[in-house]
Structures are given as structure tokens and as C-alpha cells.
């Protein structure tokens, strides 16, 4: 993905990216979701798990499977990096992110409740682990 930006904006982004780059492996700020990923999400084929990773709600096509595996690998890389920086474990960091990702699901999207059921997000608050902030 390539985004053309003016110089001052580039410097500003550069500063943000430089800060992020220390902590993150993929410092592409303000990037958008891959259309195939967005489509699988809104179709309810995949959803957010409490552990901070994406899961399959229905049996995925090979494309969706590959896409989710790729995203989960990237997620784990960022969790690992931030866990190290914050002095926590990858599981702790991933779980905290999972709390936020479930909170951020849009109505109609799928998420997994602490007991393992796939639920559809509606207007009310999602069912999350009691340890979530």
C-alpha cells in the first residue's frame, strides 16, 4: 500500500511512525482494512475472540483462512513487541487488546463470549470477560 502525502504531513506522519516504529513492526499508521477482511467481518464469517485474535465463526474458504492466519500472525508480532515494552506477557497483552477489540465491534459483527459462544454484536454492550476494563 502506498499513500502519497505532502511534505509537512509526511514529517508529522514520520514522527508518529518513528515513535511507533520503535514499538511496532508494522508502522503503517492510518491504514485501512483489506476489503476481503472487511467483507468477511461484516458477513459474520469471522469474529473477535477474547484472546485478542480473530476466529472462524463458520468454516472458512481457503482465502478467508489464509487472510485470518496472516492477520493473527501480525497481531501476535505486535502483541509480542508491546508485551516486551510493557513488561507483560504476550497473553496478557493480547487479552487486554481483545477486551478492546470486542468493545469496538460494530453492530452485526461477531465476537466470542467468555464461554466460547459466537454472539452477534447489537446496540447493547458486548458480553466480555469480567477482567475487561
Amino acid at each position: 500500500m502506498r499513500v502519497k502525502i505532502g511534505k509537512p504531513a509526511g514529517w508529522a506522519l514520520g514522527a508518529v511512525a518513528a515513535t511507533a516504529a520503535v514499538a511496532l513492526l508494522v508502522p503503517s499508521a492510518m491504514a485501512q482494512r483489506d476489503p476481503a477482511y472487511a467483507a468477511a467481518r461484516s458477513a459474520g464469517q469471522i469474529g473477535e475472540q477474547p484472546d485478542g485474535y480473530l476466529g472462524f465463526v463458520t468454516t472458512p474458504t481457503p482465502e478467508v483462512r489464509a487472510l485470518v492466519q496472516d492477520l493473527n500472525i501480525k497481531r501476535k508480532a505486535t502483541y509480542t513487541e508491546r508485551a516486551k515494552a510493557t513488561g507483560s506477557t504476550v497473553e496478557q497483552y493480547a487479552f487486554t487488546t481483545g477486551c478492546n477489540l470486542i468493545a469496538k465491534t460494530a453492530p452485526g459483527e461477531k465476537y466470542q463470549s467468555p464461554d466460547g459462544r459466537w454472539l452477534t454484536r447489537d446496540a447493547s454492550a458486548p458480553v466480555r470477560d469480567s477482567r475487561c476494563p
Binding site: 511496532l24 497483552y93 487479552f95 477486551c99 469496538k104 469480567s130 477482567r131
Partner: protein
């Protein structure tokens, strides 16, 4: 003053006692452990305490914002 021969005898008696105990437990038979028919699940969540989640929350929020393409 300790008699080295008495000490040796005490050790011998103790040794015999131990031998009797080992023998007795062998006679008691094998300890049977049934294998569970369900897979053993190790819940890693026990290592995640609420205070840790609260501490990491702000950092995680930032991470999501800065890497929106993977979340």
C-alpha cells in the same frame, strides 16, 4: 562419649525400618491413575489478572489505533 559401634547399630536399625516401609508400600499394590476421557485443558487465563489488564489498557488502545489495518 559416643560409642562408634552403637551409632553403627542405630543406623542399621533405621535402615531396616526403611526397608520394612518400602516393602509394605510395595505390598499395598499399585496406585491406579485413571486417564481422563476428556482432553486436559490448561487455562492460560489464570495468569491474567485484572490489575494487569487495567495497566495495559491504554497501551492496547494506542496499538489498535496505530495498526488499524490488522484489527
Amino acid at each position: 562419649m559416643t560409642n562408634p559401634r552403637t551409632g553403627a547399630r542405630r543406623r542399621a536399625i533405621e535402615g531396616r525400618g526403611l526397608a520394612v516401609m518400602v516393602g509394605a508400600s510395595a505390598l499395598a499394590g499399585c496406585i491406579q491413575i485413571d486417564t481422563p476421557d476428556k482432553p486436559i485443558e490448561i487455562n492460560l487465563n489464570i495468569n491474567i489478572r485484572q490489575e494487569v489488564v487495567y495497566r495495559l489498557d491504554g497501551d492496547a488502545k494506542k496499538l489498535i489505533e496505530q495498526n488499524s489495518e490488522i484489527f
